[in-house]
């Protein structure tokens, strides 16, 4: 082609890519993970540490002993369950940013029984606590849904603000009505009776079994059930849903209750499984991390399990790095940020392709 050009052609064009195959997509994401490890390594190098040693410590920290592995799994449980909860809402395009609050409310409701009915038969108590957690989280999720259906409020704002209400409710409880009299004036809630704790199976409280059941349950619910189908339709287009005779209001309310209820279960696991008490730190940002996990996994329950575990490795490993190298916990956050940046960034390359000046035609 030897045509004259009055104008310079730009260096490259951004072209929307046709749908890529699953294999390519997985390839892109793996590449993104690899790149993020390299970039994270550069960051560690820049602050004066040996990246290989630090990465080694992260892995070692997460897996070095049976106890370490158990601790990692323990971190996975609430994160994974909470991510499953928000997934239901997100599938419906209901922007539930309130996983944190729903988790806390689940913990609060369950804590009532743990604190005041610890004399009940152990299994009755545990089941009641789980149910109470579901009701607590569920109602906290239902509230913004009711407001949205009745007055058209913005669910993002409402669910977000409800997080803080839930958090400060705990603060009130521990300073007031539920304050532990035996804590020498400290404002905290008493440790739960052993009777109210979740039993250990293979060294970790049985929340992990609930987690696995929920992963399968949510997957089947979304993919195979009529209600799951309704959620997808409502999420895609409410007009179409109405046209098909779906009661949109009912679906939204039901789904938000379920979404909150699952987050509530995460709260029960955290309070009665890990912490054995209710504190301000019961959620500790899990509800927000869960949102990231859910989107990273494109709302796929199986992937959520895997990614939650990976996040937990990073979390557990970083705490060991912190104590071994004296690295501040902020460095772990930076590493997490770098990984997210690369993976979310790779989504762009999944959808678009750059076509260079020299190389014409749709790049594969």
């Amino acid at each position: 082609m030897t045509t004259a050009k009055t104008r310079k052609e730009p260096l490259f064009h951004v072209v929307k890519h046709a749908e890529r195959s699953t294999k390519q997509m997985i390839g892109f994401r793996l590449l993104a993970v690899a790149l993020s490890i390299v970039a994270g390594g550069l960051f560690i190098l820049a602050i004066g540490y040996n990246p290989i040693a630090v990465y080694g410590t992260i892995l070692e920290g997460a897996f070095r002993s049976k106890m370490a592995i158990q601790a990692t799994v323990k971190l996975t449980i609430p994160l994974c369950i909470c991510a499953l909860g928000v997934t239901l809402a997100f599938k419906m395009k209901f922007w539930n940013i309130g996983g944190e609050g729903q988790l806390i409310m689940g913990a609060v409701f369950a804590s009532y029984f743990a604190l005041y009915h610890s004399d009940w038969n152990h299994w009755v108590l545990v089941v009641v606590m789980l149910l109470a957690g579901m009701v607590g989280g569920g109602l906290w999720g239902l509230l913004p849904a009711v407001f949205k259906m009745k007055w058209g409020t913005n669910e993002t704002l409402l669910t977000l603000m409800l997080n803080y209400i839930a958090l400060h409710l705990v603060s009130y409880l521990q300073a007031g009505p539920w304050r532990d009299p035996g804590a020498n004036g400290f404002s905290k809630i008493a440790r739960f009776d052993k009777n109210a704790g979740l039993d250990k199976v293979l060294g970790v409280h049985f929340g992990w079994i609930i987690m696995l059941v929920l992963v399968a349950g949510v997957w089947i619910y979304l993919k195979r059930s009529k209600q799951g189908y309704e959620i997808s339709v409502v999420g895609e287009s409410q007009d179409t849903a109405r046209y098909a005779g779906i009661n949109v209001k009912k679906v939204v309310l039901r789904t938000m209750f379920l979404s909150g209820a699952i987050a509530g279960i995460a709260g029960v696991c955290q309070a009665a499984g890990s912490d054995m008490t209710l504190s301000m730190g019961v959620a500790g940002g899990i509800g927000f991390t869960a949102i990231i996990v859910a989107w990273l996994c494109q709302l796929n329950p199986g992937m959520i399990l895997v990614v939650s575990f990976l996040f937990s490795i990073l979390e557990k490993g970083s705490s060991v790095v912190q104590s071994t190298y004296g690295l501040s916990s902020d460095c772990a956050d930076v590493l997490q940020g770098i990984i997210l940046f690369f993976i979310l960034g790779s989504e762009f390359f999944v959808r678009y392709a750059f076509v260079g000046r020299g190389r014409k035609g749709g790049a594969k």
Partner: protein
């Protein structure tokens, strides 16, 4: 051809998307002071070609010349500087801005003052015979007004070469005539105009020359004066096609749906339907004509149970179905398929594959909490075969399918649910000739099976040929219910603008 006269010349333009060749060595030229129609079926590469001329895509091979100079158009801004303006099928306007704010939006340099701007816009309108209130906000505009703003937008930027992508798809016959008058005036002022369309009568009415694309290749350019509709179709499709629409005689006629004094308010409180009364027989096609937004949507939605009704009754087999839920109405055998402007909005779930879309109205069937996808999968396969739907697979999201195929999926599903009453609005919206005739055939098959079909259409020629009776709506009122065989296009056009038939007048008088 004099270089000064030649506005755009494309030579050997090729563009591929992945493995799909959208344009393959296309040749096209248009002169200043000429209207060129670009004709071709869906997927023949019309829009891709125009997007390259307006700088949205870049050709892989070939050269574009503007006013005789070879150019490389890398962005819409480049196109604008070369005096090329494109008016897209889907308007790109800011709803809350006024006409003139939209017109000036994005132009480089300092914004002119409100008064000066108003004057400029009015001057421009006067020059080209356009009519618009410069201060009117876009959300209050009719479709044709919005189009006028789009045209003004490109004229304001000094475009001398205009590309219009299916501009008449959303207009009434009267509005179309008005648009054509404007285009002729522009032509007289020396503009070069390329109009993309697949309505043959419009090609013949407006263009000087026609360039025909087929499967990404330019198959030829002809002077409009030397061809007729049949010849154009043949060039477009590749073989001769009969343009006559079959209209079998209705048989076994009895009333299946009776609408009495139906009054429906729009969400803004104005009347969407005003005392509408009519009935539909089984085994007939009742056409509904009217300017866009005359109450067609409200009528469909009221019958389907989606809109609250202020007054009146809808009797289906002598039973009032008002107050029933959409689900109950579906179960009665009333099927409604509404193809909105964006073709997907209602009726299909864009992100789902054919299988899941088949389930939309039937997923509740069967016991237990789980969805049985096996019959839906079978139905999807059957439709693919029966209606020759082109799709990579039945699980491919329908949003990735072409418009014609999407509509086949929608109508196919409605028909497979064996309805007694089939309401279908704009089923051929944006479809090419072959697909349109397939849809007409499907509707006729339903009619012959004894189904009552309500066909809400845009193209009056089609309504007149296909339907048995035609109901005309204007501002939510019935302005005529006529025998399609005994009425002319002009008469219907008048009724659409509010002129009542004697019969309708009499009824109105009786009621008063």
């Amino acid at each position: 051809m004099g270089e000064a006269k030649c506005a755009i010349r494309c030579s050997g333009i090729t563009k591929t998307f992945g493995s799909v060749v959208a344009n393959d060595g296309i040749e096209l030229n248009v002169d200043y002071g000429e209207i060129l129609a670009l004709l071709g079926e869906n997927g023949s590469g019309k829009t891709t070609l125009m997007n390259m001329i307006s700088g949205i895509y870049h050709p892989d091979k070939g050269q574009i010349y503007v006013s005789g100079e070879p150019v490389s158009i890398s962005s819409p801004v480049d196109a604008q500087e070369l005096g090329i303006g494109m008016i897209h099928q889907h308007f790109k306007l800011v709803e809350v801005f006024s006409a003139m704010e939209n017109i000036v939006l994005g132009t480089p340099g300092k914004l002119p003052g409100k008064k000066a701007l108003r004057q400029q816009v009015e001057q421009l309108c006067a020059n080209y015979g356009l009519e618009i209130d410069p201060e009117k906000p876009v959300y209050e505009m009719s479709v044709s007004e919005k189009q006028t703003v789009e045209i003004l937008k490109v004229l304001y930027r000094g475009a001398k070469i205009l590309i219009l992508d299916e501009p008449t798809a959303v207009l009434t016959p009267q509005e179309t005539d008005k648009l054509f008058a404007i285009l002729r005036q522009m032509k007289a002022k020396g503009c070069a105009i390329i109009i993309i369309t697949h309505k043959l009568n419009e090609v013949l009415a407006i263009s000087d020359r026609v360039t025909i694309l087929r499967k990404g290749k330019s198959v030829g350019s002809v002077f409009t004066s030397g061809v007729d509709a049949a010849k154009l179709t043949e060039m477009m499709v590749g073989h001769a096609v009969s343009l006559a629409i079959r209209r079998p005689e209705p048989k076994d006629v009895h009333t299946i749906l009776k609408v009495v004094d139906l009054t429906v308010n729009k969400p803004d409180g104005s009347k969407g339907l005003d005392d509408v009364s009519f009935h539909i027989h089984s085994g007939e096609i009742l056409g509904v004509a009217g300017v866009a937004g005359s109450g067609q949507k409200e009528l469909c939605e009221a019958i389907a149970g989606l809109l609250p009704v202020q007054k009146g009754a809808v009797l289906y087999k002598k039973e009032n179905i008002l107050g029933k839920t959409p689900e109950q109405i579906i179960d009665l055998g009333i099927s409604m398929s509404f193809v909105p402007e964006d073709r997907l909005g209602m009726g299909l779930v864009a992100g789902m594959g054919m299988t899941d879309n088949m389930l939309l109205k039937s997923y509740r069937q069967g016991k237990g909490p789980f969805v049985d996808r096996a019959p839906a999968r079978q139905l999807a396969k059957k439709l693919v075969e029966k209606l020759s739907i082109v799709t990579p697979g039945i699980e491919t999201p329908v949003r990735l399918m072409s418009g014609g195929n999407v509509q086949k999926v929608l109508l196919g599903r409605e028909i497979e649910s064996n309805p007694n009453l089939l309401i279908t609005a704009y089923p051929v919206r944006g479809l090419d000739i072959n697909s349109s005739y397939l849809i007409y055939d499907l509707l006729n098959q339903q009619k012959e099976k004894g189904v009552a079909v309500m066909f809400i259409g845009e193209d009056l020629d089609v309504l007149l040929e296909l339907c048995d009776r035609i109901l005309v709506l204007c501002h939510g009122k019935v302005t005529g219910l006529v025998d399609a065989k005994a009425v002319t296009k002009e008469q219907i056009g008048l009724m659409m603008t509010g002129e009542m038939t004697e019969e309708a007048k009499k009824r109105e008088a009786e009621e008063a």
